[in-house]
């Protein structure tokens, strides 16, 4: 979850954000549209090749793959039940290839470069009253809110355990929600204090 970006100087690191995202989009579409099990193995090989090219650390790849494993297994089981084993393999391998390709892009692109690109692309929206800087900031915040929220969840659960409140959902859900909202207020204050979103 936490900061997937991996600094480096490979070809993929130096590639501008636009072509990289366009490439990811094209690859994803191809993976989804081409329906054959052998082709999906080829796509997985391509994704792995990209990961090698970008020198993405193995643990990062494994963590990302593990995250999607359960969903991929369930999806391919369902597909297998209805359409047979070939389809099951294809679904599983496709999902894995998609995940790896996405991880490669995330690992080679700093969030600020992504934000800069978003600001550029949402420039035309300025004419309909949407400030591009704010669009970029919102996306950046959403990305960053995840690890923070996970940390809050763990803390709240520990606090409930320490008081012997055990596993009752109410014992940690209520304080968790209260703390997430409080954190949101604090973050809002911090952004305002840094003058972000004023212009």
């Amino acid at each position: 979850m936490v900061a997937i970006h991996q600094p480096g100087d490979t070809l993929l690191h130096r590639l501008p954000v636009g072509p990289k995202l366009a490439g990811l989009g094209a690859l994803s579409l191809t993976i989804v549209l081409v329906r054959s099990a052998p082709a999906s193995l080829l796509f997985l090989a391509v994704a792995l090749g990209l990961a090698l090219l970008a020198r993405v650390r193995l643990p990062l790849l494994l963590t990302a793959a593990r995250g999607v494993l359960l969903i991929a297994l369930v999806a391919s089981l369902v597909q297998g039940l209805f359409y047979g084993a070939g389809k099951a393999v294809e679904t599983f391998v496709d999902l894995l290839a998609l995940t790896l390709a996405a991880v490669v892009v995330t690992a080679t692109t700093p969030v600020n470069a992504m934000l800069d690109a978003l600001v550029r692309w949402s420039g035309p929206l300025r004419h309909v009253g949407v400030p591009p800087e704010r669009v970029a900031l919102t996306v950046g915040l959403a990305v960053q809110a995840l690890p923070g929220t996970v940390a809050l969840a763990l803390e709240t659960r520990d606090a409930a355990r320490a008081r012997g409140l055990g596993r009752h959902p109410r014992a940690y859900l209520t304080p968790f929600v209260v703390r997430v909202v409080a954190r949101a207020h604090e973050t809002g204050d911090a952004l305002a204090a840094r003058g972000l979103g004023d212009d």
Partner: protein, 233 residues
Amino acid sequence: MPVLELHAAAVTVDTTDGERVVLHPTTLRLTERRVAVIGANGSGKSTLARLFNGLVEPTSGRVVVDGLDVAREAGAVRRRVGFCFTDPAAQLVMPTCVEDVELSLRRHERNGAQRRARALEVLERYGLGQHADVSVHALSGGQKQLLALAGVLAAEPAVLVADEPTTLLDLANTRRVGDLLLGLDQQLLLVTHDLDLAARCDRVVVVEDARVRYDGPAEAGVADYVASVAERS
């Protein structure tokens, strides 16, 4: 030095039990380089500090920074007044250290490469150079607070308001952050429970029950606060 002024500024909040006064009408004029605000938990010192960059708006009276009315020109005031929070976790909003500093520099530097170079310079200045690409979640509490300060100071404000910046830190980091704050060229308004730090300031304001109880030289201010606690217990 910038001039921070309160003109009969008061803050009240509506609660279910009726109105509660967080700050009685207060008039202050702060021109010293380093001003400390001390007082008990819930006395209103944090509210007083937050008035100066518009995080809290006065329900009556006026707040003026360098001739700018905070209510009317909030944006201009915030560019002039930086704010540092107790808990740096709420303040750090980007994944890595250098990116968080870059976020502060977005307004000053449109060019991505130059912005990164400036952010790296800032990190170097605050001793975080080797942590540039490290996740902000992987830093220690002291490093997080240093990074939060670096992020605020990168925008080069004329005034820094710090709300209990050392409360969560260990002794070594308290000294480090304290020395950094007191050594700044900027005007500093420091809300703190660290009386040693307060005593090193040029002026101390003691807040008690939503009122300014004492305002004057630092040593005497700290003594007054200690005496007020002894009276009550």
